[in-house]
Every structure is written in C-alpha cells, then in structure tokens.
C-alpha cells in the first residue's frame, strides 16, 4: 500500500503499525514525537495498535526548544 510520510509518498507493507513506522523512519527521540494521521493526533499508547491504511498521510512533529 501507499502512504505519505512527512510529505514523501512511499510504498509500505500492509498491516504496518505506527510503532513500526516510527522505527523504520528512524524518528529521533520517539518517546516525545507527536504523530498525526490525516486529521487526527495519535496518542503514544495507540502506536502499537494503530494500523496504517492505504492513502494515509502521516506527520511527525518534533519538539524544538531552542530560540535563544
């Protein structure tokens, strides 16, 4: 199936979970990343149980604390 991750279209295996995608995408500090699928936030407790569907759009939003 095809999904869009951070703006990039890619083909992934059926049944891919958010938890596995976080690993595959080498997300930095995965415990603190915010994940959205289409127009919804995905709670961290739901990463294992959330199976991606064909056409999903996934975004990883990172803490960025610098400014000074």
């Amino acid at each position: 199936m095809n999904i869009t991750v951070a703006g990039v279209k890619k083909e992934v295996a059926d049944g891919l979970t958010v938890a596995q995608l976080v690993i595959d995408e080498k997300v930095e500090t995965p415990e603190y990343v915010t994940v959205t699928i289409n127009d919804d936030f995905v709670d961290h407790g739901q990463f294992e149980g959330t199976v991606l569907k064909d056409g999903d759009t996934v975004e990883f939003l990172y803490f960025m604390g610098g400014g000074q």
Binding site: E31, D39, G65, G67, Q68
Partner: protein
C-alpha cells in the same frame, strides 16, 4: 495623529503597499507587541518590529549579554557584553527608530508575573529557548485570549506556528506537556546556525505585522517547519479538533498556570 514628513519617508515602502497604506502604518504605530526572550529569535523579531514602527515593544529577558550570544543575537554588539539583554535590545531598537517606545522586563517570566505582563499587549512573540517557558506562554495566552507566535530553532532546523484564540490549535494541542529535562536537546547542547534565528524570527515578525494589519493568512492550524540542510520549508496541517486539549479544549484540566522545572543548562534569557 498625522504623520510627520520624516515618518512618511521612513515608512514609504510600507505606505506604498495597498495592504498597508497610511491606515495600516497607523495601526502598526498604535500596536503593542511583547517579545519574550531577547536571544536568537527575539533579536531579529524585535529589530524588524522596531524598524516597522510598532509603536510599543515590550522585551522580557532576565539575562546579560554573553560573548557566545553574539554569533546569532544580532541585536547585541560586542560592546554590550555583560549588559542586561533587555537594555542592550532597547538601545538598539531606539537607535533604529525613535518612534518606538520600548518597555523592558529584566526578569524571568513565571506563573506569577506573566498574566500581568501580557495583558497590555496585542500580540506576543515566544522567543524563548526552553519548554517550561514555551508551555507557560502558551497557557497564559490561551487563558488571557492573546494571540502569539511560537517558534523553536535547533541545529539546522526551525519551526513556528501561530495561535489566535478560537482559530485553531494551541501549542499544547500539538505537544501535550514538556519533555523531561534533557530528554530533548536544546540549542545550547546541540548548537544552532546563527542565521536560523534570522529566518524563523523574521517569520515571527511577519506574523505579528500581518496580524496587526489584518491581512493575509496566518499560520493558525499549521506548523511551518524549515530544514536548512535540505533547504526545505513544509507547512504541515495540524489536526483541527481542539476539543480534548488540556488548556484550550472544551473541558480544560489546566486552569492555573504551571511553573515546570527549568532545565539546568538553560534559562529564558540564554
């Protein structure tokens, strides 16, 4: 209030724009913007706001200018090392534009003082470097119904979003609570390219100016991310459902401001 000849010349590139005009320039001169943090982000924000003729600019920062700041905090100069950052920032802004009244807050913002500080301002700029301050600014602006611009920079990356009450998610909608101390690197630990503050801070100033003029589309409901190494900007749409947010949602569980523990290595004015 009529413009002086000097003002007509000074602001001529604004006044010629149909989105600004004399009316818009008056709005800018009557506006009050608070910049929290006089550092990598706050420096360019404050300078562009001062140059634009924002009539009242508040600047809050508890720190003094350090030599290591000068690589990116362009509002301060070598002669200012050791001086309170708010003082140095005020001198630069006043030298740039005598139309601007600068109000300084040489203190850390806390749950005790923030509501009192932000209450007189039309728009708030978060130019802080740490999560306790970012969450405090967010929660205070939500509670006081003030619009603000969030931004963060680290290494070769930056992000920003704009919160306007009732017009989309707040920072806490996206990031539920601050990460534990040192769990996520700060720019002191990780470094940052000086120009990153210029890129992202200028965008914050642009959002403030657009908000005051009432023109265009603000970054409400979006997180803009910038990756300098890939030279890529992305405007990421945020979920529109804010009902469950702990502070801006329908049944907020956070009804009082929280002073989270400050990471040891950084402060509001780093």
């Amino acid at each position: 209030m009529a413009f002086t000849n000097e003002q007509i010349e000074r602001y001529s590139r604004h006044i010629i724009l149909k989105e600004v005009g004399a009316k818009g320039q008056k709005k800018l001169l009557n506006a009050k913007v608070l910049v929290i943090g006089a550092g990598g982000l706050g420096a360019p924000v404050a300078m562009y706001l001062a140059a634009a003729g924002i009539g009242t600019i508040g600047i809050a920062d508890a720190d003094e200018v350090d030599l290591s700041n000068l690589q990116r905090q362009i509002i301060h100069q070598t002669k200012d090392v050791g001086k309170p950052k708010v003082q140095s920032a005020k001198e630069t802004m006043e030298a740039m534009n005598p139309d601007v009244k600068v109000i300084t807050y040489h203190e850390f913002i806390t749950s005790e003082n923030i509501l009192d500080i932000i209450k007189d301002y039309d728009f708030i700029i978060d130019g802080t470097d740490n999560f306790p301050a970012k969450f405090l600014i967010n929660d205070a602006c939500v509670m006081a119904k003030k619009p603000f611009s969030h931004a963060g920079i680290i290494r070769f990356q930056g992000q920003l979003m704009t919160y306007v009450p009732g017009q989309g998610p707040c920072y806490r909608c996206v990031f539920k609570e601050p990460p534990p101390k040192d769990a996520v690197p700060t720019c002191k630990q990780a470094g940052v390219i000086g120009a990153m503050g210029g890129v992202i801070g200028s965008l914050q100033a642009m959002e403030a100016v657009k908000y005051i003029l009432g023109v265009g589309d603000l970054l409400t409901g979006y997180l803009l991310t910038y990756d300098a190494l890939k030279m890529q900007f992305r405007k990421v749409k945020l979920p529109s459902d804010t009902h469950n947010c702990a502070v801006c949602g329908d049944n907020p569980t956070i009804t009082e401001l929280i002073d989270y523990e400050q990471a040891e290595c950084d402060g509001v004015g780093l």
